[in-house]
């Protein structure tokens, strides 16, 4: 399924640098979670002024604006913005189609480790999940960074809704190449006031194949074979079907307020992100 530990570590190390140039889109959103450095939903103890309001019994007297009391004789509370650490749920689809071509497999792992490093460097609370059809498994972050233990995880049947944390950022890395309807999956991503991002890596040979003539197709997941004469007309219809498949996903993503970014295997990683993910808001430039 996944490559060996050294390969994974190498990619992880490379993505540390990439996460310094770009990151997941934490900015401009209201997060919930433990204390951190990102704008939270409530008031807190940061130095960013948020609002004034009348004192209510039980309020912390340390936050009474004494200057305002001197001017008005009323107790007025001075509120500051809360700063939290976002919760990030990172889901990696590890079905065989994700690794059907070397270029695509590399891009899949780059996206995973980029997202992981980006969340870590932003101080987010990260959880990694591996997804295999209807089953999922939690992959500890430290193990994921070390490329260890992925082959001995306890898999559980979870369906499209994983045990998300409330208000978390859910990052799904999947090629979306399965015949089912996208709705349940996207609804799962957006559940519990979550924010969904889907990175969909693809290989050029999938989007624009050079098939012609007699071809014996072998399904990379089921091993099923099919002999097909591919004419230019059939090839053109296939390309149309590919575009229609992702157009359908895109429509569904818009409906569920999930960001979808297709990331090709070419060119290099940062340039791909800049071209294909940045305009869609799936990533942002690091400060």
């Amino acid at each position: 399924m996944l490559p060996d530990r050294e390969t994974l570590r190498g990619i992880a190390a490379r993505m540390q640098g990439a996460a310094g140039r770009m990151r997941l889109p934490f900015r401009g959103r209201i997060w919930r979670g433990p204390d951190g450095s990102w704008q939270g939903a409530g008031s807190g103890s940061s130095i960013d002024f948020q609002d004034h309001r009348a004192y209510l019994p039980g309020d912390d007297p340390r936050h009474i604006d004494w200057a305002a009391y001197a001017r008005s004789g009323h107790y007025t509370m001075k509120l500051y913005r809360e700063e939290v650490s976002p919760a990030v749920e990172l889901v990696l689809d590890v079905s065989a189609s994700m690794f059907v071509a070397p270029g695509k497999a590399a891009r899949v792992l780059e996206l995973f480790y980029f997202s992981l490093e980006s969340a870590r460097q932003s101080g987010a609370s990260v959880r990694c999940h591996l997804l295999r059809g209807e089953e999922s498994a939690r992959w500890p972050v430290e193990a994921a960074l070390g490329g260890d233990g992925w082959d001995a995880l306890p898999w559980r049947k979870t369906g499209p809704v994983l045990p998300w944390r409330q208000g978390s950022l859910r990052v799904l890395i999947s090629d979306l190449l399965f015949p089912g309807a996208p709705g349940p999956w996207l609804a799962g991503l957006a559940a519990s006031r979550g924010t969904g991002i889907v990175f969909s890596p693809f290989a050029d040979a999938e989007a624009d194949p050079d098939w012609a003539g007699n071809i014996e197709f072998s399904d990379c997941e089921s091993g099923r074979t099919r002999v097909q004469v591919v004419s230019p007309a059939l090839l053109e219809r296939y390309r149309t079907a590919w575009r229609r498949h992702f157009a359908l996903w895109e429509d569904e993503c818009r409906r569920h307020r999930v960001v979808l970014a297709q990331v090709g295997e070419e060119p290099d990683f940062l340039e791909s992100l800049q071209r294909q993910a940045l305009p869609r808001g799936a990533v942002e430039m690091a400060a």
Binding site: W211, G213, N214, F217, S218, Q228, Y238, H245
Partner: protein, 558 residues
């Protein structure tokens, strides 16, 4: 305007590479296997699996067109395009073998001449055609620039002559050509020809059975039949169209037929079942009636015994006619007989010593080719020669044999005494006497009836016809039959074509190289390089896995 020709038309065989390339491209992706992640998309488009075919539809690819262009350019360069010079001229002489054996292949020869002349015509802008036979005595059949007329003149070629050496005719025509054209000897067998000439042989070993000789003796006739082929054969034979029997002949075997002329019948025609060589399949013959000659001897001479003996050796004599007189010359009564005579000097006295000096014979038909050096003659009286005499043989200043013309004929004067000479014992003297008698016989006004071989020279200077049949000439009547066993034997017949190479040589001589040849070569190299680059552009491993073996070989080659 310049004409285009090809120095190596066989180079166009390279165009077979085009179907080969197409076949390779048809087979190219026959066994391609793909590991796919989007099979569900494909299954939605084509729910039914279409089974693969051995040959897939041709793909319109740059590689295909580059390879086809490369093959076409290669074939073009291999064919050697050249441009004929508009001022080029040549002379082509076809020397047609007049031998009778070629008649068995006359149609093949005409076709070959038509075909090869068409090829030769492409070798120069203007061609002068000449058609001659290999027998120098025969007239030129055609000379001109119209090839169609030359081919029509082939109908006047009737190969019925005897076996002969074609070299004189070939050498004469080589002088006409002088290196600016070709001399083609059209025959039925190969063989050496003078340098500069080429052989166009159209023969092949064939079976032949035919008459090969005739002998008549009074009313009886004998005929030989020969099987010149390699197989045993059976033939029926006929006389004047009536079947007489069947002959069975082993390979190379002969048999004799004999018969008599029925009373009242002077002409017969023997026939055999027809085969491809027709000249010896019929044999016309006549009951021979030789021309007879009367020889009278002077009585009471010293040479009676010699005269009688000689007269006995002359055939077909008439006892009571005086066509030739055998007489003596008496020096004391010097008188020569009128008309045709053989006169011998009679020495009344003892002869002198042997004559000295070298013996010289003139170039005269009566003594030509005879050896007189053994002749010994003693000194004797002599007949005084006249200026009008033909000196046939002399020793020193002394004429030994003279031919004197008189009002009624000719006299052969033997100017020495036979008794004092060894002339009666040497062949040259006796042959001279016989030649004289035969020349007199030929001059007789009677008509001779004889059987002759085709083309045979007859005594009156005429020739028998070249084709078998009866003939009726002013002085001779008779039948001519074919009897040349060499021409009837086809075991050495063969075919050969020396013209094709000559055409190529003449084309080179009369043309100049295509100006654009270097450009085509560069284009070919560029096409090969582009094709190679196009192939390299594909993923090499994928290509090698998916391509058929033939395709791999092709691409490895280019």
């Amino acid at each position: 305007m310049k004409s285009l020709l090809f120095s190596n038309p066989a180079g166009f065989w390279a165009l077979l590479g085009i179907p080969a390339v197409l076949l390779i491209h048809f087979l190219q992706r026959e066994s391609r296997r793909v590991r796919a992640s989007t099979l569900f998309l494909l299954e939605q488009l084509a729910p039914e699996s279409a089974q693969g075919r051995r040959f897939e539809r041709l793909r319109n690819s740059a590689t295909l067109w580059l390879q086809l262009l490369a093959v076409a350019l290669f074939a073009w360069l291999l064919a050697g395009p050249r441009w004929l010079r508009p001022d080029s001229a040549q002379r082509v002489v076809f020397v047609l073998d007049s031998s009778a054996s070629v008649s068995a292949f006359a149609d093949e020869a005409r076709k070959a001449v038509a075909e090869k002349s068409a090829a030769l015509a492409t070798a120069a802008a203007r061609t002068e055609w000449t058609l001659v036979e290999s027998l120098p005595a025969r007239k030129t059949l055609f000379s001109g620039t119209d090839r169609a007329a030359m081919l029509a003149a082939l109908d006047h070629w009737h190969p019925d002559g005897p076996a002969h050496d074609p070299e004189p005719a070939l050498r004469a025509t080589l002088g006409l050509v002088r290196g600016r054209g070709a001399v083609v000897f059209v025959t039925d067998h190969g063989g050496p020809v003078p340098a500069g000439a080429v052989v166009l042989a159209v023969g092949s070993p064939i079976e032949n059975v035919g008459f090969t000789g005739l002998q008549t003796d009074g009313d009886t006739w004998r005929v030989l039949v020969r099987n010149s082929g390699q197989l045993a054969v059976r033939r029926t034979w006929k006389i004047n169209g009536r079947e007489q029997g069947t002959l069975e002949l082993a390979p190379g075997g002969m048999c004799e037929l004999r018969g008599i002329f029925p009373p009242g019948t002077d002409r017969l025609t023997l026939e055999l079942d027809a085969d491809r060589f027709a000249l010896d399949d019929s044999l016309p013959m006549v009951r021979p009636q030789p021309k007879r000659i009367g020889i009278i001897r002077d009585p009471g001479t010293s040479f009676d015994a010699f005269f009688e003996k000689f007269t006995g050796t002359v055939a077909d004599r008439l006892p009571d006619r005086r066509d030739i007189v055998l007489a003596r010359y008496d020096p004391f009564l010097p008188k020569l007989p009128e008309g045709n005579a053989v006169v011998v000097v009679e020495q009344p006295l003892e002869p002198g010593k042997l004559l000295a000096g070298s013996i010289v014979a003139e170039n005269h038909p009566l003594v030509a080719g005879l050896n007189w050096q053994q002749l010994l003659v003693n000194e004797s009286f002599s007949i005084a020669p006249r200026d009008s005499d033909d000196r046939l043989v002399s020793q020193g200043d002394r004429p030994l044999l003279l031919l004197r013309h008189n009002a009624k004929g000719r006299a052969l004067l033997v100017n020495f005494d036979l008794r004092h000479s060894n002339a009666a014992q040497i062949p040259a003297f006796l042959l001279t006497l016989h030649r004289f008698v035969e020349s007199v016989r030929a001059g007789l006004p009677d008509i001779e009836v004889l059987n002759a071989e085709t083309g045979q020279s007859l005594a009156d200077g005429s020739r028998a016809p070249d084709a078998p049949g009866f003939f009726d000439l002013p002085a001779v009547r008779g039948a001519a039959h074919f009897a040349d066993g060499r021409e009837a034997d086809f075991s050495n017949a063969s075919s050969a074509d020396g013209v094709t190479g000559t055409v190529a040589a003449l084309q080179l001589q009369n043309s100049e190289q295509d100006f654009f040849s270097p450009l085509w070569t560069l284009l070919l190299l560029a096409t090969c390089a582009a094709s190679w680059a196009a192939v390299r552009e594909r993923k090499a491993t994928k290509f090698m896995q998916n391509s058929a073996p033939l395709s791999c070989i092709f691409h490895t080659l280019i």
